[in-house]
């Protein structure tokens, strides 16, 4: 289980981006983290991953503080950031270098996801376009089969067919023991796949609920209502 306890964080010289936030994420859930630009969605993902040190509070993954970055904890977590660089090497060599760190790595899942994305199984990563890099990175993330998978704006840079491929790849690649948190402001891209919504705005959690699969919801309208724009 992933627990966020009374988390407060501010970048130096700025006001609190996150203030006294407490949340819980359970296995088997696909959580949509929604909010306007600049509300701290990416910051929250970095705090969960242990990439930022909170001013107060803590993030606990199975009882361990994620900022301490224990290898055992890190091997169960993976983040797909909004922007990233691929190394100047082939996918095969990159996978061979990463594999020893992630005991649950599954090459079949990688090949399945690449097939969904219509990407070859071996390529030089530096030669890919931004959208292609994203597809490869998402495929890698899913094949690592970490307990916690964080995705920051995963559909940014993907064309419309690729967004549909993303949903298929995610459905194929995820499992019931995973906690998947997708941070996005492009609600329509993920509303078919998430089963739990957390909305944040101005340091407040506007909504933190499971979605009823029987009752489809227009998340965009719901979000606008929550922030008072509708």
């Amino acid at each position: 289980m992933l627990e966020i306890k009374n988390l407060t964080f501010a970048y130096r010289g700025t006001k609190d981006v996150i203030s006294d936030l407490s949340l819980e994420f359970k296995e088997g859930g696909v959580y949509g983290l929604l909010g306007k630009n600049g509300t701290g969605k990416s910051t929250l993902l970095y705090l969960i991953m242990g990439l930022l040190k909170p001013r107060m509070g803590e993030v606990m993954m199975d009882g361990k503080n994620t900022f301490e970055r224990h290898p055992d904890t890190l091997s169960q977590m993976f983040i797909v950031p909004e922007e990233y660089e691929m190394p100047n090497t082939t996918l095969d060599k990159y996978v061979e270098a990463l594999r020893p760190f992630y005991p649950n790595f599954d090459e079949q899942v990688l090949n399945d996801c690449l097939e969904v994305f219509e990407m070859p199984t071996n390529m030089n990563l530096k030669d890919l376009s931004m959208g292609q890099k994203k597809k490869v990175y998402i495929s890698l993330a899913l094949s690592i089969r970490s307990k916690v998978l964080l995705m920051d704006e995963p559909t940014n840079g993907l064309d419309i067919p690729a967004k549909s491929q993303f949903r298929k790849a995610l459905a194929r690649g995820m499992n019931d023991e995973q906690i998947i948190i997708i941070s996005t402001h492009q609600v329509r891209d993920v509303e078919m796949i998430i089963d739990h919504v957390t909305m944040i705005n101005d340091n407040q959690v506007l909504m933190n609920e499971a979605l009823d699969p029987e009752t489809p919801v227009n998340l965009e309208e719901l979000f606008l209502k929550k922030i008072g724009a509708l």
Binding site: Y11, R12, Y46, M49, G50, L51, L52, K53, R69, H70, P71, D72, L74, S75, M77, F78, I79, P81, E83, Y84, E85, P87, N88, T89, K93, Y94, E96, A97, L98, P100, F101, Y102
Partner: protein, 300 residues
Amino acid sequence: MNTSNIKNFAKYDLTINKVFYRNMIIMSLCIAVGISALGFMGRYMLYSSATAMGPVMPYDYAHFRNPQVTMVFLSIFIGMLPCIFAGCTFHNLRKKQGRIMELTLPTSNKEKYIWHIIVSVGFGFLLTLASVLVADLFNYLLHICVFGNEYTYSMTAKMFDILSINIPEAELAQQATKFPIYSLLSSMRLLIITSSIMGTCAYIYGNSVKYHYNIIITYGIMLGASIILAIGISVIFGAAHVNVEGDKIKGMSTDEIGMMNDLTILFYCLAAAFATIAGICVWRSYKRYCNAQITTATNK
């Protein structure tokens, strides 16, 4: 700590930074060979001009075998390259994306840090040595082609000769009856070694604070500190050995043995201080690495 984790991290680092390491090797070799080539070209131009003047200005060929200026520049290269390597210890953290990958990789901070030190210090030192040897070989081959076998020697051997205190043993023993020369020589050697180590550690620490422009900033700080230290030592040591009669300075002390003893003590104290500073730099850089974040005040 697990050595297989260090090996896995090493393999990962070499895979993603293959181009970076290759470029560092090429750059080091090119600079060293370039210094050697330019030095030789300069000497050859002088030799050609001198032989063209012939009887008007007869010249001994021996002058043109002597690559002293080249050795000066190679010595600067030997001093600078390990510092540059040390300043690139945490090169993976230069960019935000690199920080994400490095800091979330499931290996302990200690294991990652050890690998970074092995590369920046160990590999840096070996590459410096290899570059100098290649430059030396290049110089030797050029000399063979132009001047023949008779007038060549190894620059590397000569530089080590100059660095080692090359005083005949009999003369040392004779001087030792008048001055505490053995202690002084030991203290000088220790000071040279500890100051080199401290310099390298300072660049490692500088890189842990700032991931961009750290080499220039660290160099500036070290230069400033060296100047202040040199002035301070000169003033204090000079003042301690000045003869004062009444309120007038009558000149420097003639107690040479006393000065030698004080100098020896000073060198040992400085060596101890440098070793301590080096240890603190390594410890603090490790702590900073453990607490590294994706964004900080000094690294955006």
